[in-house]
Amino acid sequence: MVHIAFISALLLAQQRGEPVAAQSPIVPAVANPATATQPKPAPSYDELLQRIEALEKAAEERKPPRAAPSTAGTFTQNRFNPDLSLIADFAVVGTNVDDKTAQRLVVPGFVDPSDRTGKLRGIDFNYLELAFNAAVDPYFDFFSVVTVAPSGIDVEETYVDTRQLPFGFQLRIGKFFSAFGRLNGMHQHVWDFYDQPLVYEAFMGAEGWKNPGVRLSWTAPVDFLLQLNVEVFQGVSDESPLFNATSYGLTAANGTVLSSKDSFVPGMYVAALKTSFDSGDNVFLLGASVMYGHALQTRIENLPTDMAFSAPGTIVYDGELTYKYLLSSYRSITWQSEYLGRVSSGDLALASDGLVHAASKRQGGFYSQLVWRFDEPGRFRVGARFDLLDQNTFTVDGAGQPLDNLLQRYTAMLEFSPTEFSRFRLQYAYDRSRFLDGARKGVQEVLLQMNIAVGPHGAHSF
């Protein structure tokens, strides 16, 4: 097109007897001086075409070099960055027990003062959680949660899940929360209350049982949920009040050395079976779990402090039931209950008498909670929870030790979530499970919690 228009212009110019080069704006005078000075017979079409091409080429060559496309981003790989979410948690706490006293409170036979974490009077920064996830390659997905809290930095979880195992199997390798029970695998920010149920705090630690290990999960090919998780953990942890497959060594008053050998590691095993089905707007979730491993406790209420209770065959079992009634797209009522029990027997080494005694523990407790999401856009929730530790026997050389077995707590909460990414929770708890110097100390507590999440959309599980 350009050529033809240009040729016609040239032809036209020639016919008028005008010098072509001077008339044509893109043909510089120097390009072909001959044309400008000496009139010649009209050139043929082909000649003109050749001339144009030569001129175009010359013009092209004289253009300043085009700027090279930026290569600044050639090796940047931002798009491979993992998804990163930040979750921050704060609370304002008011209680009838000052911080110093709170550190001395125990749940007899269950929770030592050393296990107590967080929750101080006044304004608390609880934690900042950094959650990363990305596909590693076609075979693995990667997840990691790092918690930064006033107590330090903790790699809560870091693991890979397989993507391609057949027959409904999946393998998880790394450090992760056990699939035991309903709550153990849930991160703090999805809990329905500020804290764990008492029985979880007693058996699993304040945040739940997490450890380096391997999980094989299998989902059955049925139209409801039937899932089995089998886990093997290292079983050594100083975060949990229970499982610790390490040895103890004590020197008694009379000079006798009492000690044990390290247990075989990995030393902790979990099996958890879950099933769920629904009928219309009723959703049921049931589960049973069992944990087996080596427990080691170096402090037990009513016993001298220089002691060790080493129980290699400790079992914790759990039965769970959740029922959810979906009232509308946003409103629902959820009733959730769990019973946990612990059976543990082994050696009790006492430095006071330099002897190893046969000892056993049977403990158990449950919680039951009701949570109602009651308003139309689904921003408000109200809930109540009852905790009870109802079994608490400790036997040494066949003789029972007196331990309280009616340890209860009452909790109520009201929650407002402006969006899925921010939440305010007002919680009141009356805790009758704590003891101070051997006497029951009722603890009342009111707190306002704020939880915020930024980053990729956190999807919610059931």
């Binding site: 027959f167 199997f169 094989l216 299998w218 139209d223 409801f224 949920l225």
Partner: protein, 300 residues
């Protein structure tokens, strides 16, 4: 240790027995009823379809029932709307289903939003703007002209996971598209009187419908997507549009109805509940009656 071994053996044994492929029909899980309706048109009785969301449920907030995991575990194909509409409930379900066939990137996973052009793609992405979708507005199915590309994508996916049936799916698709062409022409004609009419909607659900019919959306009851109406915002909305000649307030079946009713009363304009999906209202039984209902609800 024995206990672990035993559990493992049991799991493996049950696994191999139950996982033996015996199904004749292609098992398909879809997120929304309209997708099921389209699958029905194309696969006829060759597929077993499970739907995760109900039509009258908020498509953004579907309760992730654990039983969905069992269904996804067995699925040959998972079809989602996409455009981040399912971001709040589908990812954990897929993760727990342990089914490599339907993982994103696999042959048995399709995202329908990729076969249509999304509108209202935000330049800036910030949650300060509410529940926005970086990919654009995901409610593309309210435009009947978006149905053919979506139907084609479904037929292609069905043909990939069930190669034996590909021919039949193509035939059914052609028949459906032929019927659709005729219907679309009638709907186009039926929608003509709507051109230029100003409407207010609850959430940005009907932007594609408005664009198709030539209606002008002058505002939303939500101050920002996903943020419930405030009385201040509603008053501002009424004041701002007092002279805009608002034709109608439209809403969906799952949001509260006090706000649209109140605004409609104050502005003295009618308000209607529109289906955003098949089964959102009883009259919208399938793809055909969905658009019949949409149009007849706004034509009065």
């Amino acid at each position: 240790m024995n206990f672990v071994k035993t559990s493992f053996l049991i799991a493996t044994a049950i696994g191999s027995v139950l996982a033996t492929p015996a199904q004749a029909k292609t098992k398909i899980v879809v997120t929304y009823p309209y997708i099921a309706s389209l699958v029905g048109e194309i696969a006829k009785d060759q597929a077993e379809v499970s739907i995760l969301a109900k039509g009258d449920e908020d498509p953004h907030f579907v309760v992730p029932r654990p039983s969905f995991i069992g269904k996804l575990r067995q699925a040959d194909l998972l079809i989602i709307n996409g455009g981040s509409l399912e971001i709040g409930f589908v990812p954990p379900l897929i993760r727990q289903a342990n089914n490599p066939r339907i993982m994103p990137g696999a042959e048995g996973f399709i995202d329908l939003s990729q076969s249509v052009e999304l509108i209202d793609k935000p330049d800036q992405v910030s949650r300060a703007e509410g529940d926005i979708h970086p990919e654009g507005n995901p409610h593309f199915i309210t435009d009947w002209h978006n149905v053919p590309p979506v139907a084609r994508a479904i037929a292609d996916a069905l043909g990939r996971v069930d190669r034996g049936g590909a021919g039949a799916y193509q035939k059914n698709l052609d028949a459906f598209l032929a019927r659709w062409k005729v219907q679309s022409a009638t709907w186009d004609k039926k929608a003509e009187p709507l051109r230029g009419k100003a409407i207010i909607q609850y959430h940005r659900l009907f932007n594609y419908f408005a664009r198709r019919t030539g209606m002008k959306i002058v505002g939303e009851l939500e101050p920002k997507p996903g943020i419930p109406p405030t009385s201040k915002h509603l008053e501002d909305l009424i004041t701002a549009n007092a002279n805009a000649g608002v034709y109608m307030i439209v809403t969906d079946p799952y949001h509260e109805q006090k706000s649209p009713e109140g605004v409609a009363r104050k502005m003295s304009v009618p308000w209607v509940v529109l289906p955003q999906d098949v089964a959102a209202v009883p009259a919208a039984k399938d793809m055909f009656s969905l658009y019949d209902t949409l149009l007849s609800s706004v034509l009065r």
